[in-house]
């Protein structure tokens, strides 16, 4: 493998890892703070991708905007969806056992998949990136790298930074962290914990949807994408440690590396390598890399 | 004369920068009730957890009946004769009182491969269970679901389950927790009865009970032992009075 190829694969690994981190962070947050394991989290990613495909013509026709307008509209819809879902469904799951949460959110996946099938159909689609983000930039003499993929990495990094700022530096972040460790105390201090949870959940949904929308031009839009990303996100969370954002980032990047280079070096075993990684890490640290 | 059944030397436990237990060395002898007292946060729970094998020590050793068990897991120590009762009940609420004791007793005669034999007819575990529950005063409640017992009876069951495996060393974590006067009397009578045949570590907050039943008292403050002597000496020890008894 030449240097240029190696560098390209590193960029691919980074982009995949960061995207994975975005989706996984929502999963680990919702579990770490509300104690709910949500199998339907992958469906939000799928919904985002299908939104990028389905909303684009509608947005172009009404507001006249392009890719970014579609993103904005999608984001607003995602927050609304998350808000309503938490109020109508997830708030009832907090007190239940994990097994019940697993099964009820599994039922939710089936509902989402079928609703998507009814509304948009079952075909795969491709989504075109915005004009000014197409094309590639040159890396040396022989290789070039697609601009859009760099854009994805950029967006993910920005969001990750944003999450860090909110958690570590704002009052909202402080309340969320406090609510995670001691719910009753935070309630008795006058904080509306129900509202807090709703905000966190809506944020988690919005991030996953956004990830799906942004990834659509690269990964294309197909029915099984939600489930695929969900299971990998589980591996991210297990390796990184439940509830740890830091862990999710490290684990996602690790998986990005293993998966990307695995596909190049051992194409046949590529699917299995991530799980081998998980098995090895579990042998060493059963609670994940960063136990909270 | 009285043989030391359990000994720890230099037992230390650090959590990051915090020292929860600092170089504690204690002996527990057959026929003796050795109470460990101290305010909340003194390190008593951590100490008992290291002795039982639930937490590994950062430094120091634990010896059970002469053998170094520092690296042994809790089940292994239990099979070697170390019994433990918990501050919060660890009984099985859905099983009957007898089944609670029987299941605990079965630990000494596990025979998991005999899958065609009904456990409920296992004479050895049944016998040990009846004996343990009789000693703990639960003869009248053998068939009741454990979850329906009164709090005092549940604490009795907790002790019975500890006794079911016929341990030589008893680690009792606040057995009197939440008990009324009458129940306390009954428990103290039981502990007195158990004294001769066991080496008993008693962690307790009820000072009257401790001074009545203990043959030896160790006082812990901030993870370290500040005094370890007979009850009369402890009562008159100025350091102990200042640190602990003075506030009561």
């Amino acid at each position: 493998m030449g240097w240029a190829t190696f560098f390209v694969q590193c960029l691919n690994a980074l982009q995949y890892g960061l995207l994975l981190f975005l989706v996984a962070s929502g999963l680990t947050l919702i579990f770490g703070i509300m104690g709910v394991i949500n199998l339907a989290h992958g469906s939000f990613y799928m919904i985002g991708a299908y939104m990028a495909y389905a909303l684009a013509p509608a947005v172009a026709a009404t507001i006249g905007g392009g890719f970014f307008s579609t993103l904005a509209v999608g984001l607003v819809l995602a927050v609304a969806l998350g808000y309503v879902l938490e109020w109508a469904f997830f708030s009832f799951l907090y007190e239940r056992e994990h097994l019940q949460q697993v099964l009820m959110t599994y039922g939710l996946i089936l509902v989402f998949e079928e609703l998507r099938s009814i509304l948009v159909g079952d075909e795969a689609h491709s989504v075109a990136p915005p004009e000014w983000l197409t094309g590639s930039i040159a890396l040396g003499d022989l290789m070039s790298y697609p601009v859009y993929r760099l854009f994805i990495s950029g967006v993910c990094l920005l969001l990750a930074l944003g999450m860090y700022v909110v958690f570590a530096k704002t009052r909202l972040g402080m309340m969320i962290r406090a609510g995670a460790s001691n719910r009753e105390m935070v309630q008795s201090l006058g904080v509306d914990i129900k509202f807090l949870y709703r905000v966190v959940f809506a944020a988690g949904v919005a991030i996953a949807v956004l990830a799906g929308m942004v990834a659509a031009p690269v990964s294309s839009v197909y029915p099984g994408m939600g489930n695929q990303v969900l299971i990998i996100c589980f591996v991210v969370v297990v390796i990184g440690g439940i509830g740890s954002i830091r862990g999710a980032l490290l684990a996602a990047l690790l998986i990005g590396l293993v998966d990307t280079f695995g596909k190049v070096i051992f194409p046949q075993a590529a699917g299995v390598l991530v799980y081998v990684l998980m098995a090895l890490i579990l042998l060493w640290k059963p609670d994940g890399l960063f136990k909270t | 004369m009285s043989e030391t059944l359990l000994r720890c030397e230099g037992l230390t436990r650090r959590w990051g920068g915090l020292v929860a237990v600092d170089g504690v060395s204690l002996d527990f002898a057959l026929g003796q009730v050795h109470a460990v007292i101290g305010t909340n946060g003194a390190g008593k729970s951590t100490l008992i957890n290291m002795l039982s094998g639930e937490i590994p020590p950062s430094a120091g050793t634990v010896a059970l009946m002469g053998e170094d068990v520092t690296g042994w897991t809790q089940p292994r120590r239990a099979r070697a004769g170390l019994g433990r009762s918990y501050q919060r009940n660890t009984i099985f609420p859905n099983f009957s009182v007898l089944e609670n004791c029987r299941l605990a007793a079965q630990a000494t005669y596990q025979h998991p491969w005999a899958w065609w034999q009904a456990a409920s007819r296992c004479e050895r575990s049944l016998g040990a269970a009846r004996e343990a529950s009789a000693r703990a005063g639960l003869n009248d409640a053998l068939d009741r679901p454990a979850g329906l017992l009164s709090h005092g009876q549940k604490r009795q069951l907790e002790i019975a389950m500890c006794l079911a495996t016929s341990p030589k060393v008893l680690l009792l974590d606040e057995p009197l927790a939440g008990m009324g006067a009458e129940e306390t009397e009954r428990m103290l009578a039981l502990l007195s009865e158990l004294r001769a045949g066991h080496a008993t570590l008693l962690v307790e907050h009820d000072m009257d009970a401790v001074f009545r039943i203990a043959d030896w008292i160790t006082v812990m403050v901030n993870g370290a032992v500040i005094a370890s002597a007979r009850p009369e000496s402890i009562r008159n020890d100025p350091a102990v009075q200042a640190a602990y008894l003075g506030g009561h």
């Binding site: 994990h98 299971i231 297990v238 299995v272 | 089940p75 079965q106 998991p112 409920s120 495996t165």
Partner: protein
């Protein structure tokens, strides 16, 4: 039969009798359907041992099911029938070994981690079967000759014919049920129940809990392997979807729907879930909407878990409570 109260015994006896005479009452479609359901009931019983008895929520049972099925096809020679005498133990061995591997690593984790990790290990098996030449890809692989169950030249059961095969599966189901009932009341089974109720107390008494849980995993894997073998032989065909997490989820739903903690619940749940699926897919009942049967199924799952905490087994008690206000 094993000290259960007479009501439960009567239920089990009646169910066994009903299954025994069923082929006389239905046609080939019915026999085929109930054979499939009975195989899933065996699979559900294997999971009940893990989830209901020991409290280990395994989301990867499909891997143990599917691997045995693939083993049955892969190990059968292409030119002639294999003898079930060695093929069945071999397939059970394959599942048992993977259960050992999966259990040894997964049991290092607890709670939610355990659920996620078992799911991930099942995916591992799925990808091996889906992507490598071992598996044969998305389309699956076919069994050339069904195995024979014979002594010398005398065929005990002709696995090619649906009716003998039905009774073979019924015998297996009854056998597994009886074995698990005996296991539940044995010292091993009581120890698992204790570990489920309070693992800390069991450790304090002197039980090394990890070997017990691992043993439960392997036994569960072997029973799932039996189900996988029977499934492969039934249709002569296996595909990767047998190992998918949808399949793992389906088995979990079966035992929850039927009633966790009861062997009858697992069997009942297998029947209820499969029949519900058939119902929702039936165009006769749902017309053009039958195409979207996943939606109905998803809603029923949500409603079932939310409203029936003790499953169908707990329904009579629930009804009594609602109608007559009995408290408990």
């Amino acid at each position: 039969m094993t000290g259960m109260p007479w009501g439960k015994q009567a239920f089990v006896a009646a169910a066994a009798l009903a299954l025994a005479v069923l082929p006389l009452l239905t046609g080939s479609f019915g026999i085929d359907l109930v054979t499939k359901i009975m195989i899933f009931a065996i699979l559900a019983l294997s999971l009940e041992l893990l989830v209901g008895m020991t409290g280990l929520v395994c989301f990867g049972q499909a891997a143990l099911f599917g691997l045995a099925g693939y083993a049955a096809v892969r190990l059968s020679p292409e030119s002639d029938s294999a003898s079930m005498w060695w093929l069945l133990p071999a397939c059970i061995g394959v599942s048992g070994l993977y259960a050992l591997f999966m259990g040894a690593l997964s049991l290092r984790t607890k709670g939610v981690y355990f659920i996620m990790v078992t799911l991930a290990f099942a995916q591992m098996a799925y990808y091996v079967v889906h992507d490598t030449p071992l598996g044969g890809g998305t389309d699956g692989i076919y069994l050339y000759f069904k195995p024979t169950l014979a002594i010398g030249i005398w065929t005990i059961v002709d696995l090619d014919k649906p009716l003998p095969f039905y009774y073979l599966v019924l015998v297996c189901l009854l056998g597994v049920f009886a074995k698990l009932a005996l296991l539940a009341r044995s010292r091993f089974g009581r120890a698992l129940a204790g570990i489920h109720a309070n693992e800390q107390r069991m450790r304090a008494a002197g039980y090394s809990t990890y070997p017990y849980k691992l043993a439960a995993f392997v036994v569960s894997g072997c029973i799932a392997g039996l189900a996988g073998f029977l499934f492969a032989v039934k249709d002569g065909f296996v595909n990767p979807e047998l190992l998918s997490w949808h399949q793992s989820g389906a088995v979990l739903i079966m035992i929850i729907l039927g009633g966790l903690g009861h062997l009858r619940g697992a069997v009942l749940g297998a029947f209820a879930f499969t029949l519900l699926q058939e119902l929702f897919q039936s165009e006769a009942v749902f017309g053009p909407f039958a195409k979207h049967w996943h939606l109905s199924l998803g809603l029923i799952i949500i409603a079932g878990v939310a409203l029936l905490p003790n499953g169908l087994i707990g329904l009579p008690a629930l009804v009594r409570q609602r109608l007559f206000g009995e408290s408990k």
